[in-house]
Amino acid sequence: MPEEAISLENRADKLNEEMLIRRIRDGEHELFYELIRPYERRVYSTAFAILRNEADAEDVAQEAVLKAFKHIRQFRSEARFSTWLISITVNEARMRRRKEHVEIMQPIVDHQDEEGNYTPRDFADWREIPLETLERSEVRQKLAEALASLGQKYREVFVLRDVQNLSIEETAKALGVSTASVKTRLLRARLMLRDLLAPGLGGSWSSKLSFAKGTKPW
């Protein structure tokens, strides 16, 4: 879709949302259902990405939506409603995580220094994903597992930017970090996911396998 069309559509959505929000503030509370309908899944998946547990994610999603309803007067229209809602969800999920000390799985990559360089593993090729691959549920399972194995700060950024399609600025705002931080974490998250997924999803190993024994060829 051309950029112009997207921005026109976004503007129409935003105007419609502003109208809905005004009416909800004026007492037409039932319109809130209509306002959140497009974002219900997004709220859930954001909560899930942080908590990695269905029941907690659903509970937090409900809390976040309720909070948005109760504080709708505090929403400032210069932001997008979706970004505001996602920020609330992120905060709720982080609070839940802190409260329950949820660390079922030690993330495999949290020990890595965010600013340090990351060396991508060497696959000769992973140029195409067969279409039928996307339909298989075990593939989705693999994707979920790979994502779950990332540290929280990488997972959050990746989910907001690449799963929810927020812009870099919106991701930064929702998470309360700088855009530079978002970019660094995003790079790391994408490369790590590639390393985790390529071997199983059509990427062929390079013939130079020396790094598999612990040393990298570069």
């Binding site: 037409e28 039932e30 859930y44």
Partner: protein
């Protein structure tokens, strides 16, 4: 400008997001042409983004939306009927009592609902006089505070409202919806009027 593989790996994500200056972009593109390893990393990274864009990744559990709405409904301020509302309701009751009746058979064919969330108003008495707003999706008892556009209201019967695709307001019509559910358990779930497991 010439860039090394290490520099490429640092910028590969910004390159995909179009967040690099034009001269760096040109240098990166030149590098990708000549370096098979980096161009494979680029393809792989793009694959990752493409795979996760597929938004069925985190499918919410079944019934998530209904449970969410139910929770919201429990926390929304209760409907309060104003004096005018009661007057209109009283007038409606007189109309009903004086034999104002419409055949309920007309409502037996389910029309297309105006709201995808709603359930048809199967439990609401066909002759009940209700209020609808032109651009609304639900029908209400007169005076219900959840009526959409209060300037453009029509008073019709529940069966007419159902025929036009309006569904019952889950607050002011709640007693009928619950009653319908008790009478006929096979009728399915009524949005917002029943506890989800």
């Amino acid at each position: 400008m010439v860039v090394t593989c290490e520099q490429v790996w640092r910028e590969i994500s910004n390159y995909i997001d179009d967040e690099v200056a034009p001269d760096l972009r040109a240098a990166l593109e030149e590098h990708f042409h000549g370096c098979q390893r980096c161009s494979a990393i680029l393809d792989g990274t793009r694959n990752v983004i493409g795979l996760y864009e597929e938004d069925r990744m985190f499918e919410p559990p079944q019934g998530y939306s209904q449970r969410l709405h139910h929770r919201l409904e429990q926390n929304m301020p209760r409907s309060r009927r104003g004096f005018l509302g009661w007057m209109v309701a009283a007038a409606a009751a007189v109309l009903v009592a004086s034999g104002f009746e419409l055949g309920s058979s007309a409502a037996s064919r389910q029309p297309e609902l105006r709201s995808e969330h709603a359930q048809p108003g199967t439990g609401v008495p066909a002759e009940l006089v209700v209020v609808v707003a032109e651009d609304g999706k639900t029908f209400h008892a007169a005076g219900c505070e959840f009526i959409h556009d209060k300037a453009r209201l029509r008073t019709i019967t529940a069966s007419e409202a159902t025929r036009e695709g309006y569904s019952p307001c889950v607050r002011c019509m709640k007693k009928y919806l619950s009653a319908s559910l008790e009478i006929n358990n096979d009728a399915g779930e009524v949005a917002g009027a029943v506890d989800q497991p």
